[in-house]
Symmetry: D2
Subunit: 293 residues, 4 copies
């Protein structure tokens, strides 16, 4: 069993840390607010008052925080992981951040003798709770092999996709596809409803062919019922599409449809719907079709 520092106990991080505790690892956890830390301590973890303290003496540190600047803060900051990290520490960042930030943090870590993997996840809160996350990992193959047993405690599909940053790039591609497919399914639903098609059998037949996708499988029912309790919030998907666009721009890749979908997320936030589930992209297509409620 490993000594693990775990930083970031949000809706994703908290159930992930609990799986590690239950698996018998010695987990020292840090979080900005103390509520989640206390809950984890009751489950058997120890509390740390800073990222540096969580990393002190750890063999592995996992970070799971909201955005690129947060990772920079908890790793590179004054009381960050690198302040106390011992040589040979394996630092696994499971946040969703910019690929170039991942590479910058990896360089700073390497300068301190710390190994780095970027290992963002998909599967949402349910995947974190049920330990069925998909985990896309960038970094050295050797480090990936070292991390694999731990990651298998957290998810079901764990793949090594390339050097540092590659994990984040795959996550970016994932978010690109998800937002776009929700948008397409929204156009389809509004078109079908406007033509008074029976939606149950229509969705069934769409899901059964080449148009079939997980948004139809998992989210269409909620979208048809206009239930938009999150789930994954528009605000976060907006952030992720900014990452996608930056990664595309850096590589000179054209993403015209994604650029248009990103504009829709800007609109949804301006319309006060940033806190709704990303399935609420449907409401913008309704508004644009004069069918808003």
């Amino acid at each position: 069993m490993a000594r693990i520092g775990f930083i970031g106990l949000g809706v994703m991080g908290r159930p992930m840390a609990e799986h590690l505790v239950r698996a018998g690892h010695q987990v020292t956890a840090h979080n900005r607010s103390q509520g989640p830390v206390r809950a984890l301590v009751e489950a058997g973890a120890e509390a740390a008052s800073s990222a540096a303290e969580a990393a002190d003496g750890a063999e592995v540190v996992i970070t799971m925080v909201p955005d690129s600047p947060d990772v920079e803060a908890v790793v590179l900051g004054e009381h960050g992981v690198l302040a106390t990290a011992r040589r040979g520490l394996l630092l696994i960042d499971m946040s969703t951040i910019r690929p170039d930030t991942a590479r910058e943090v990896a360089e700073a870590a390497a300068a301190r003798g710390v190994r780095f993997l970027d290992a963002p996840v998909s599967g949402g809160q349910a995947g974190a709770v049920e330990a069925t996350l998909s985990i896309m990992v960038g970094g050295d193959a050797e480090d990936f092999q070292a991390a694999r047993p731990l990651l298998e405690t957290l998810g079901r599909t764990i793949v090594h996709v390339g050097p540092v940053g590659a994990g984040q790039t795959v996550k970016a591609a994932n978010q690109l596809i998800v937002a776009g497919v929700i948008e397409l399914v929204s156009e389809a639903i509004v078109l079908l409803e406007a033509h008074e098609v029976e939606m149950g059998p229509a969705v069934e037949v769409l899901a059964g062919g080449l148009a079939g996708n997980q948004v139809l499988e998992r989210k269409a029912a909620g979208m048809l019922a206009r239930r938009f309790d999150p789930g994954f919030r528009i605000d976060l998907h907006h952030k992720d599409l900014q990452i996608v666009q930056a990664a595309a721009r850096d590589a000179g890749v054209a993403v015209p449809v994604t650029a248009l979908v990103a504009q829709m997320l800007v609109s949804l936030r301006s319309l006060g719907r940033g806190g709704l589930d990303h399935g609420a992209i449907l409401t913008l297509i309704e508004d644009l079709s004069g069918r808003g409620r």
Copy 2:
């Protein structure tokens, strides 16, 4: 067993008609070129020199032709189905055409005492050959029930989605989603390749999450290998997106992403790629990213 007139023996129609012959129905077939007719006659059908002749005495007529004007010609034209149709005939159009054309043809049929279903399919040539098509049917519930046994000879998922035209609207929604998802997967692939991600595991992990879709499952391998032998041609998908946009415009529904994807299909045709599989949308994103071959 039924007396069936079958009109249109293209890559889809021919295997469909063969299934009906093999199931023991008495099929009289018509096609513009005679080669496919002779092949079907060898399998046990009779040949007709016009749509009118194929419909003469039939209980059911099935039409499977390329586009809206073709359906108008073989049904409403001088030597068309309605010229000889007996009262009570069940006319099933399985072509992909405009919903409003379906409604016009249905009205003309009704005026002659002919019942009409629009029953477009998805599943492509493979689905036609293997009798695993999805069939989305618009029309009266009673007519649908009458047609169902025949349709079960041709496909696996057969659903009634509403009144006449509804089948075509669902098919339009299907084509909207398929074209859009191919475009999104293309953006994702070019982005990942530009960042030198390992594509095998990347596609695997994308396919396993909320980004998962049938384009990734069935077409990504061909797209990664730049194999674009059709399949379903860009030219046809271009035609279908014109139908989608007309149906959306008629209903006042906004389809901004589809409008943009439709422009890409215009470009691909102008670039001489209209005969390639629709997976070749990838090549336009490559061109736009300065990565064309």
Copy 3:
């Protein structure tokens, strides 16, 4: 002075016909509703009960009707121009229609020995009233020279831009640019207002540089004041962008921005704003930015 049949006395056609009467021509006018005909008769014209009657004995016929089907009806229909047209008649269609419809009508006319020019206009109602229209003419150079004196009675800038259909294509390009520029000015205005910039000097400086355009000169004041009394209605501009897209598709030309702007006009109509001036594109950008009223 010429014997002229004039068909279509709408907001554009009526002042145009009046200019011809005042210039001393012998005008026989036809319109669906009789009010405008009576007004023109008081000014010195004669009334005709059909397009055919207006064309009977005329040396020149001018048509100014709303859309492609209307031109087909008044020229090719049972009581249309060609029913009575004498050989050598010069038919000038000044409506805004599809270039391919213009070519079809020209062919039908030629078969009857009738010469045809397509001569759509820009400049709006004010341009019609003040005889300052721009007129873009397609057809034979000789016919253009014959028509020029008459057209100079109606407009100020009269140019020959190519064979039959070319006038409509230039008009399509005009409408493409106008709609797009209104959209861009709308994005700029909402951006500037959101940042609390002083709009008067901002518009002044924008108008003075490479960003300068006639929309800023003539329409920005109304847009800033949210005055959207037409002017040129969204409904008509929507129709015109359908013509643009058809002309582009026929020629295999990609018009991605225009396709997106056309979607916005679909939205505005669905939102019940089709009767407003096209400057109201601004309201959609406001809505999309959460700043609608």
Copy 4:
């Protein structure tokens, strides 16, 4: 006459600084490369080896550098303007940068008792050489009045558009409109050429109506001749549209067409055309229409 520090002697800055020297001001200039400095010294200026040295003892400092980070470096950096600025200095940044960077620099300046104006320009190299620039100024009204005489040495239209940052926001709006209009004119030109319209009279009539704009007036001839020597480079316009999109995102403003145009600039750069004049947007529409050379 004033003591002026001038930082940044690029294609714009050099002729601007010369105008100030010729007007009798005492100019101390700094530039990264020394060639332009030597030329200016011959004209009567003094040379400074750093921004700090140029600012030392100055009453006014003008900065004219490529991008946001450059302004931060020459103002806030170790050897930057604020290192030597005396209280009451008037700092005028004439670069095109992000509005929020302008506000940050203004705050840092205020903390040192330095007054700040953002005063970006339009009019290009020709405008700089001929002192006919348009200058859009953000900042205190009093500071604007103090700067006006100097700015009148450099440009013709000088307007105060609001508080600090407003100048940059108006410049952003300017670049939004210019890029968009070039794109629209490109769609129009390719459409007209594809239909074999005579381009000379077509452009003349378009320029004369509501579609009229400065791109048609000043750039269409070069675009029709496919002359794309800069002028204003695609690379710079790409940078500016990133600023536009950031400013829009910060304010929650939707700019869907601009987002699409920005993607085209990404493509043009990836296609190796970043060094061409922005009129070369035309070449992408040609490529997309299968009409590239």
